[in-house]
Amino acid sequence: MKKKTVQSILYQSFCLLIGLMTIAPILYAVSLSFMEQREILTKGIHLLPDKIQWKNYKEALRLTHLVRYMLNSLILAGGSSVIRVAVAGLAAFSFAFFDFKGKNVLFMLCMSTMMIPGDVVLITNYKTVADLGLTDTYFGMMSMFLVSVMNIFMFRQYYLTFSMEIYEASKVDGCGNFIFFIKILFPLSKPVTATVFISSFVSTWNTYLWPMIVTNKDTMRTVQVGVTMLNSRDGGTIYGPIMAASVMVLVPTVIIFILFQKQIAGGMMAGSVKG
């Protein structure tokens, strides 16, 4: 018993240490965002601000249209993540539940696209989007993030653990494929849906290159571009406002994570017991 307690304390201390190490840079960034320039640039270790001041936040908002950029990023990340979940879910449904000729070949073909680096197809993708007249539009920005093979794979793997008997029983009861997907399969797939949505939202939220290439107007910029606009190669780095902008930019992704955290945890446990 005693041995178990010691083990548990050691394990939890280790987890706490790893957790603190992970979150430390973020906490330090938050602290820096409240510091004066002179406090940031000190030789000694200076972890906390002498006094909380909002100057850096005001400066970040003055130098860039961060609120507008956050709205753009929210539309981009939110919209593309919702569509991505729908597309990946439906595609995975066909791969997991249907039996058709060439299914495995098609699946392998899809998976093989993961080996093509995004940069290689950047110009071709841009050409397609420009020819369709989608530059400077939200749809043009989203277009590259609507389908992810990795997400199809994740959904498929999850669906493969789903009982085929339920699917067949629902069919006997006269339930069509789409109704089965919407009413039975999708509600029972919350963990994988949450995982895909969060990973999609965070990765799209953090995207820099594609939104920068496909838009030309300042009003269509995203938050990542906004943060870059505060940096200056010749003018040097203004750490305070950059940290303040980074903290502001971080908020939506943290909210999304908190909202879906329960589902992820639930999903992990749901997969642990079979039968």
Partner: protein, 477 residues
């Protein structure tokens, strides 16, 4: 269900194949540029105010730039000022937009995709992008506009020769210089005094700098607490040192790429690279030289380095960082040898314009392009950002004289730029990124003692030539 699914998939595949085929066969030629119709009404000389408007409707000009932070604010102020003054007179409205730190790369993406309609009217580009940009069908060189002689607001002679040369390719001025700088030595006067050095007499050569580093370096046991010098030698620094040797040095063939495609570096065969490395070895031997730039501005401001080599565009930032903490100054870039007369290259960006087939827009773009090089825009932008004005006439004005008398750190930059040979320039080496990486990597290995002088020399020369050769092989017509 199976049949429907097969049909949808087949249709999808056919569509995607069709899209690929279309992509491959689409010509990447730009639409033919419209020849601007000569309009006498808007000529500057003797034109009545009311006839200056280009059109009944305001002409909109899109302007792409790569300025960030406080420099972006300074640029936007200049654009707003144009819209309120000259723009209003001519009926021009300019909309600036930030396009990332490398506008030339974005233009290149659009050009490769053949998306000419989304090109801007006016764009700020770094000098390295000029050879590629001047090849676009839409490109209009200021040299040609000067030759036409219409709507001249900025006389060609007002542009300082060195700055003009920076943006000259195949004898044509391809951009109006805008945000220009030069490389300088920054030094901490108080640390100079403490080390027994004369703060009014900073090192003039690399050898003198090496002596100063030895005296300025402070150690706590084996750990350096204050470095004598901080600079990471990359392409920018190296071409300034080598370029300034003797009267001047082109670095590469075809006048360093300005008379034609640069196919090889010449600093190996003429011995100038080895001359530089012989001197630089003295700096490395001091043990007080920091060869990596982490936060060079901030480290200098925190007195972690006594000297630093940086662009003059950092003066404003250092003023802001240092404030009244200690006394510091700028000095000319230390020469390789005392007898060198070349000076330094002009760094920074210029303004190019494109003809998208609308004569009114082209005229408006030309007027705006010149405005950015005019006295007012240069004064406002440069004093707010720390760049060196490229307009010769501005230096005759009282406001500029006052500014320089109040900002002594800028004086060294201006004097050095004016005294330099215009042939000292960063080369148009096309594969700039690759060459930068090669020099950075090799010079770092040399500084850290993992590569000897001869190997460093040979690697820089051979690797740069390999990259240039590969480019020429694919692209030379």
């Amino acid at each position: 269900m199976k049949k429907t699914l097969s049909f949808v998939m087949a249709a999808g595949l056919i569509l995607s194949l069709g899209a690929c085929g279309q992509g491959a066969s689409t010509k990447t030629k730009a639409p033919t540029a419209a020849v601007p119709e000569p309009t006498t009404a808007a000529q500057t000389t003797g034109t009545p105010e009311e006839t200056k408007r280009i059109s009944d409707k305001d002409v909109e000009v899109s302007f792409w730039h790569h300025m960030e932070g406080t420099n972006a604010s300074a640029l936007e102020t200049a654009v707003n000022h144009f819209n309120e003054t000259t723009g209003k007179e001519y009926g021009i409205v300019v909309t600036p937009s930030f396009q990332g730190s490398n506008t030339a790369e974005k233009l290149n993406t659009l050009a490769q995709a053949g998306d000419w309609k989304n090109f801007p009217d006016v764009c700020q580009v770094a000098s390295a992008g000029i050879p590629a940009i001047s090849g676009y069908d839409l490109f209009v060189a200021p040299e040609d506009m000067y030759a036409k002689g219409e709507d001249i607001l900025l006389p060609r002679e007002s542009i300082i020769a060195n700055n003009a040369r920076t943006f000259t390719y195949k004898d044509k001025l391809c951009a109006i210089p805008f945000s220009n700088s030069t490389i300088l030595l920054y030094y901490n006067k108080e640390l100079f005094k403490a080390a027994g050095l004369d703060p009014e007499n900073p090192p003039k050569t690399i050898a003198e700098m090496a002596d100063a580093i030895t005296k300025l370096t402070a150690k706590d046991g084996n750990e350096v607490t204050t470095y004598g010098l901080n600079v990471q030698v990359k392409r920018y620094q190296l071409v300034n040192w080598v370029g300034g040797e003797g009267d001047f040095n082109f670095i590469g063939d075809n006048e360093g790429g300005r008379a034609g495609l640069m196919s090889k570096v010449t600093f190996g065969e003429d011995g100038s690279l080895m001359t530089y490395l012989n001197e630089w070895e003295k700096v490395i031997a001091t043990g007080g030289y920091k060869p990596v730039e982490d936060n060079i501005n901030e480290e200098f401001a925190m007195q972690l380095s006594a000297m630093a080599i940086m662009s003059s565009a950092r003066i404003a930032k250092l003023n802001d960082l240092i404030g009244d903490s200690f006394e510091w100054g700028t000095a000319p870039f230390p020469k390789v040898n005392a007898e060198d007369k070349g000076g330094t290259a002009v760094g920074g960006s210029g303004i190019v314009m494109f003809d998208k087939g609308n004569a009114d827009e082209l005229r408006a773009s030309w007027i705006f392009q010149q405005y950015l090089g005019g006295e007012d825009a240069q004064y406002d932008f440069c004093t707010a950002s720390g760049y060196i004005p490229m307009n010769k006439d501005l230096y005759e004005e009282e406001r500029m004289k006052t500014y320089l008398s109040e900002n002594t750190a800028m004086v060294a930059a201006v004097d050095q730029l004016m005294a330099s040979n215009p042939n000292v320039q960063e080369p148009f080496d096309i594969v700039t990124g690759d060459i930068n990486s090669i020099i950075d990597e090799e010079m770092l290995a040399f500084a850290q003692g993992t590569s000897d002088k001869q190997t460093t020399h040979d690697n820089i020369v051979n690797k740069c030539n390999e990259k240039l050769e590969a480019y020429v092989k694919v692209n030379a017509k």
